[in-house]
Point group: C2
Chain length 350, copies 2
């Protein structure tokens, strides 16, 4: 296999710490030559030093990569000098939109032995293993909106959710394809009884694509009801497809009920291959625990597994997953290991 170009954005807070462990595992499983790794210094600290969030030059270099691994970006909550959304909109979402990551893939699996906040009566003896296909390039995340009469008592703030047939159909189709490779069950989540324009579009497209996949059984849930099922019956789900905002919300909840945000991996995927896909843990930069070497790198390591799968290294992906699973089930509740200890253990096992 030809060497792949891997762009690495550690980012802020715990980002660089967990990414280091992800790279350690990547090298252990794929060898030192499978990826040519280039680090990019981006995030809050970089912005504070340079005044630049993401230069055109860096953007062009990232576009030339085959794949991107990202830790987390975002300033500490107290950092009032970093405008809200500057890094999220200017870096993370900019990459997702520019590289047309229309499939934001977020698997949730309750591994044996992992503590869950849910009662035994909800999960015992049931297999919780589903994946959320979150639309990643439109909806309320599009950034269209504005401030009118800003700073006055008559200020108005608007946000526009833009949903296109083109954007909805391709992600719905991807979700149906994934369902056929899993348990043939697909749930659409929206709120079409209130958001009639966006919801109507999603629903009609979902139904028309469903006609091409008679083997997939489908259902629909309003987003509020979906949160109830995630808390009371997560085993009912196989594949969920939903829009950008609902996907953001549901995947944090899904992570919580399957052992926490420390285990939740994600892929921002451009299935056409026209742009590099980007893999990242679902968690944020967690400034409160940054620099202490205590962040759990498992979510990043599982994101590396998704990355390996994406570039076609299926066997390596499976080995990482297996090593993570073994590591998780060997964990002693209450015992804390350092970030590097977890990375070392998994790297040694792949």
């Amino acid at each position: 296999m030809t060497q792949k170009k891997l762009a690495v954005i550690g980012g802020d807070g715990i980002g660089p710490e967990v990414v280091a462990e992800g790279l350690k595992v990547l090298e252990a499983v794929a060898g030192p030559d499978a990826f040519e790794t280039t680090p990019y210094d981006l995030g809050a600290a970089h912005w504070q030093r340079t005044g630049e969030v993401l230069s055109d030059e860096t953007m062009a270099e990232l576009a030339a990569a085959d794949v991107i691994l990202l830790g987390a970006v975002g300033a500490a909550p107290g950092a009032t000098d970093v405008p809200s959304g500057l890094l999220e909109r200017g870096l993370l979402l900019k990459l997702r939109f520019a590289f047309d990551h229309y499939v934001n893939l977020r698997p949730s699996r309750l591994f044996p032995g992992v503590p869950t906040p849910l009662a035994d009566s909800v999960v015992a003896g049931r297999e919780v293993d589903f994946v959320v296909v979150r639309e990643g390039t439109e909806g309320l995340y599009c950034g269209n909106g504005g401030t009118f009469r800003g700073g006055t008592p008559n200020e108005i703030g608007t946000e526009v959710s833009i949903n296109t047939a083109y954007g909805v159909e391709r992600v719905v189709r991807d979700a149906f394809e994934r369902a056929t490779r899993r348990r043939n069950k697909l749930t659409l989540v929206h709120k079409h009884n209130v958001l009639v324009y966006a919801g109507g579009l999603w629903r009609r497209i979902f139904e028309s694509v469903a006609a091409e996949y008679p083997q997939v059984s489908t259902d629909y849930l309003h987003v509020d009801a979906a949160t109830i099922f995630l808390a009371t019956d997560p085993a009912r789900f196989d594949v969920i497809v939903t829009d950008n905002l609902f996907g953001d919300i549901l995947t944090d909840l899904a992570a919580a009920v399957t052992g926490g945000i420390g285990l939740a991996a994600s892929g921002n995927i451009n299935p056409t291959g026209a742009f590099p896909s980007m893999f990242e843990p679902v968690h944020g930069s967690a400034p409160d625990i940054a620099g202490q070497g205590v962040a759990d790198p498992t979510a990043t390591i599982l994101s590396v597994a998704l990355l390996l799968e994406h570039v076609g290294l299926l066997d390596e992906a499976a080995r990482v997953e297996k090593a993570v699973l073994a590591d998780i089930s060997a964990r002693t509740p209450g015992t804390k290991r350092s970030t590097t200890e977890v990375g070392d253990a998994i790297a040694a096992a792949v």
Copy 2:
């Protein structure tokens, strides 16, 4: 006390069944003369028969009521002849908007003995008792949006979230007031790192009102993180204030973790008194169990307690709450009682 005019909208599905029990308890606690009750036949069935969702005449009558009790509206999922959103937008949301119900009040309390999907490690020995103040008159619920190139492969569906300083400030202020009457803790939930215009407005107003309430300790959570805390540490919350859509989502999840949607009460409140406030269970019309007499009326009965509190019958409100609490703790898990049995028991105890 002068007699109050109570407009009653049973609605669809289980709505009329649970409302009957709510009225039973209301009469038992307040006597037969405290309220002059007028039933209004509205909902899917009414629309199917008359072609009208809500006439101007009915609207005028409802506006003249002192207070409204509503069951649930919404057609069966299979009823393809009822356009999506017709009843939600044309009836429920129309009332909330027309009567300026800017405080959508949704208390969540984990009563002793109530089964929760959460593990003992999360809730045992902790008091889960919080209230969500959901903005009820703007945000993404405003209904502004549209379909462009509808039905073509280039269709675009938009939804606009409108947030005004006026609308945000009054609900934020109400939430601070409520916090001072509770445990002096208020959490703002939004997604200001992505929705920078709406989120910025909410955040700035929240901070400026907070300066007037130094005794209230405040924090902020992104909506995705808030779902995690609801599943892993619901006892951390006292009062939550948030926008219309986030409030919709969080309160279903809050209901789920505190014993289910069968217990979740709500008030759509116009604190100025210019319009009648409306009380309703959070749950929907549940067409799958309608007509069987098995729906749990507790959420409606707790909504009646909120209604009594709203009209100043504080002692009566407390008695209903106490009777519900006693009834709940006397329930034998696994035993099912009919809708009327629950209503009778609580009515007998008030």
